[in-house]
């Protein structure tokens, strides 16, 4: 047992001294991550985007078109900022992104409706800004449908149909959309909850690469691992070294996730403890991934480049923004290799879908088993590195 404990303790002590001596290194695993997570939560603190500016081009100037204007103005997601007289003005405002959409009402709008013909309202929206235009499309459609239903209802009433019957006759089969799990489609929950672990994933792999890579860069591998390292002692030394960043980043992650759930009055129906166990698993795996990249390439710089390549686009590949099942086969294969993809599915299932734990037991096991295997491999690679002192000190 001492064969394990003494290298573990001395490595942890050595790392603690080093962290105390280097404010930069300490900052990168403590207050910088904490501040970065707080920043993410702050960015999305508004919850759902509201008051997106749109314009109105009313060429009809009728009571009905003004009513549509009032409906649009009353929609919380929209802010009716200006009205335009012609298309050139509207296009210019769209191009300047003064407004993200323009609702255009044609000249014979109310006349057509009085004649019992179908009329059309046009929404020009800036599709280059996907989120903005998606929200505006939804809200404008709702406003127009409301107006349309009002027109249809009054027409039916004029034909002598009683009001109660009308509602059913107008839509014989109604669709009730129940958005499960993320009830208000609150983006704070959706994005901040997904981005904070993505951020910590980057920071953890960076920290893993950094604390092992520094020994290589400064050519102090023998001081760290001892003169005659064995696989158990190297594993213990690695564990001792990585325990500080794991502890620190784990606490930051725990505080952040608890903060944006319970702290904002969101009590997820799934198990937060399970999610935190998964998050610690993700962080542990990221740390050993960084260590393995350094020990494998024998270069701190290359390992940091690899960290950028693996972790920085992990969010884009995770399926949170663009679904996994719509990706090209090979891209999906890469996505499935990334630990973040599996972690975020686990988190979504617990925090937002309230799924029983057994559905994510596989991902949880995977995260921790991969950590153990990769940790063992890193220790082997460290032994190999220890035998090649001529390659230490590379930049």
């Amino acid at each position: 047992m001492t064969a394990f404990w003494s290298p573990f303790v001395s490595s942890a002590r050595r790392e603690a001294d080093r962290l105390r001596a280097s404010p930069w290194d300490l900052a990168m695993i403590s207050w910088v991550p904490l501040l970065a997570c707080a920043l993410m939560a702050w960015i999305f603190s508004a919850g759902l985007p509201q008051q997106l500016p749109i314009g109105l081009m009313d060429q009809d100037h009728s009571a009905l078109s003004r009513q549509l204007g009032r409906f649009l103005a009353a929609t919380p997601g929209l802010k009716l900022v200006t009205s335009y007289d012609d298309t050139a003005q509207a296009t210019q405002a769209l191009r300047r992104t003064e407004v993200y959409g323009v609702v255009s009402i044609p000249a014979d709008f109310s006349r057509q409706i009085k004649l019992g013909q179908a009329a059309q309202v046009t929404l020009l929206h800036n599709a280059q800004l996907g989120t903005h235009s998606g929200l505006i499309q939804r809200d404008v459609r709702t406003a127009v449908t409301t107006l349309s239903a009002g027109v249809e209802m009054s027409a039916r009433n004029k034909r002598g149909q009683p009001a109660l019957l009308t509602r059913v006759a107008m839509e014989p089969i109604q669709t009730q959309l129940v958005t499960l799990f993320n009830v208000s489609l609150n983006y704070e929950q959706f994005l901040a909850a997904a981005l904070i672990p993505a951020l910590l994933h980057i920071l953890a792999m960076t920290a893993g690469a950094w604390c092992v890579g520094r020994e290589l860069r400064d050519a102090t591998l023998d001081q760290w691992l001892g003169a005659t390292p064995s696989w158990p002692s190297a594993s213990a030394a690695l564990l001792g070294k990585l325990s500080w960043p794991l502890l620190s980043l784990g606490l930051v992650g725990t505080a952040s996730l608890v903060g944006i759930t319970w702290g904002t009055g969101w009590f997820p129906s799934g198990s937060l403890a399970w999610v935190l166990l998964g998050l610690w698993g993700l962080l542990a795996l990221s740390l050993v991934l960084g260590a393995a990249a350094t020990a494998g390439t024998l270069s701190l710089r290359t390992a940091l480049s690899a960290t950028g390549f693996i972790t920085a686009p992990a969010f884009a590949f995770s399926g949170v923004g663009f679904p996994l099942q719509s990706m090209p086969v090979l891209a999906r294969g890469w996505a499935e290799l990334l630990p973040y993809t599996h972690y975020i599915r686990l988190q979504m299932e617990q925090l937002q879908m309230a799924a029983p734990l057994r559905y994510t037991a596989g991902s949880m096991t995977g995260l921790w088993v991969a950590t153990a295997l990769l940790g063992g491999l890193s220790a082997l690679l460290l032994l190999r590195a220890a035998r090649q002192p001529e390659r230490w000190g590379g930049r």
Partner: protein, 376 residues
């Protein structure tokens, strides 16, 4: 030695240093090229189609089967499972086999025939925005079509003509016109903006690394013309990368592009120096070769979300709304989208370009101040 001569020598020396330094070359030269293909990769298909769903049919009538057929015909969704058990659908949802389901209630057909309300419940997974949209639209459209058919049949039975019946069913419709990104592809929405961020991050890290190394060896202390030559050398690499994206990668990936090519060049002329001066200043602050990578790797995420292309800037807290302009990418992304994708004239982005110029002056002035030669 004349100032110009010194500047030219310093430019040449820096270019050579970059070319010989494997690490810096990888990040400044090769990484933008790799990310130009790697980042758009997952979005290759651009749209979300054939999302797996289930239909829970509790009615077993010809009407409910008609709805199931209409859902099957929708390109947005693909029916993987038709079942009479709602619990089975819920389990498939948790297991990730389907992303949503519709429940057709027991007496659907009877209610419709009797003229009493019939409600189909559609459950979609709100945790994933695009899947949720595909599922709810796919079901709504199919059910809406069946519902409209029933209503029009009833109106016709009441004596209205077919066209008349269609018009009185839905008197006002909305026509949606997508501007600038006409196919509404996801990749063509995200990648043109992220491209500017990739340019910024790779350049910041490369410059920061090299300047950090110079600090270790004391080369950071130099006169203004030497520094100007160095900065111009960094900019040269940055401009080349910018041209690669605007000219080749946008075209290769078939993103909306070429709205205002002249304007895009002016943007690059302003954007790249703002990044290079900031990168050099950060490098001096870090004073260590690898520190630039360690500190800057994670910043891409927060910087992307304050820039206003995916999260509406109207929804940012007021203080953050002002602070975000300190990163060149905020003005760079907005100006690039306007020039390249929306085809705006240069005058529409004059303010953004002015801001980039101001950032260059402030960062550059600060840099020259902290790196000036010590008086002997």
């Amino acid at each position: 030695m004349g100032t110009l001569d010194k500047l030219w020598r310093s430019w040449l020396f820096t270019i050579k240093t970059i070319a010989k330094d494997k690490g810096v070359l990888l990040i400044m030269g090769l990484a933008p090229l790799i990310y130009g293909f790697f980042y758009p990769w997952p979005y290759g298909t651009q749209t979300v189609t054939r999302v797996p769903v289930a239909v829970v049919d509790l009615d077993h009538s010809n009407l409910s089967r008609q709805i199931a057929r209409y859902v099957q015909a929708s390109p947005r969704v693909e029916v993987r499972l038709i079942t009479g058990d709602e619990h089975a659908a819920q389990q498939a949802l948790w297991a990730g086999e389907i992303e949503g389901f519709a429940v057709l209630p027991r007496d659907l057909k009877r209610s419709v025939l009797r003229g009493s309300p019939a409600v189909v419940t559609v459950q979609a997974n709100g945790s994933y925005a695009l899947l949720n949209k595909a599922v709810s639209y796919g079901f709504s459209e199919a059910i809406g079509t069946v519902s409209a058919g029933v209503e029009i049949a009833k109106l016709e039975a009441a004596g209205q003509g077919k066209l008349q019946a269609q018009a009185s069913r839905s008197p006002i419709s909305t026509q949606l016109v997508a501007l600038f990104n006409p196919t509404e592809g996801y990749g063509s929405y995200v990648v043109p903006a992220v491209a500017l961020l990739i340019l910024q991050q790779t350049l910041l890290m490369g410059v920061g690394m090299l300047v950090g190394l110079w600090c270790e060896t004391g080369q950071n202390r130099a006169d203004a013309s030497t520094w100007l030559g160095r900065l111009l050398a960094f900019c040269t690499v940055g401009w080349a990368n910018g041209l690669l994206y605007f000219g080749w990668i946008y075209w290769l990936q078939d993103f909306p592009r070429g709205g205002n090519p002249g304007g895009a060049l002016v943007l690059l002329a302003c954007y790249v120096p703002a990044i290079c001066t900031l990168g050099a200043l950060l490098g001096v602050w870090f004073g260590n070769r690898e520190r630039a990578l360690q500190v800057l790797l994670f910043t891409a995420l927060p910087v992307a979300f304050v820039s206003g292309f995916s999260w509406p800037s109207e929804s940012l807290p007021p203080l953050l709304h002002s602070l975000r302009w300190l990163a060149p990418s905020t003005a760079g992304i907005q100006a690039s989208l306007k020039l390249n994708q929306m085809g705006a004239p240069l005058v529409d982005v004059a303010g953004l370009l002015g801001l980039l110029g101001l950032l260059t002056l402030v960062w550059g002035g600060w840099l020259l101040r902290v790196t000036r030669l010590r008086q002997p």
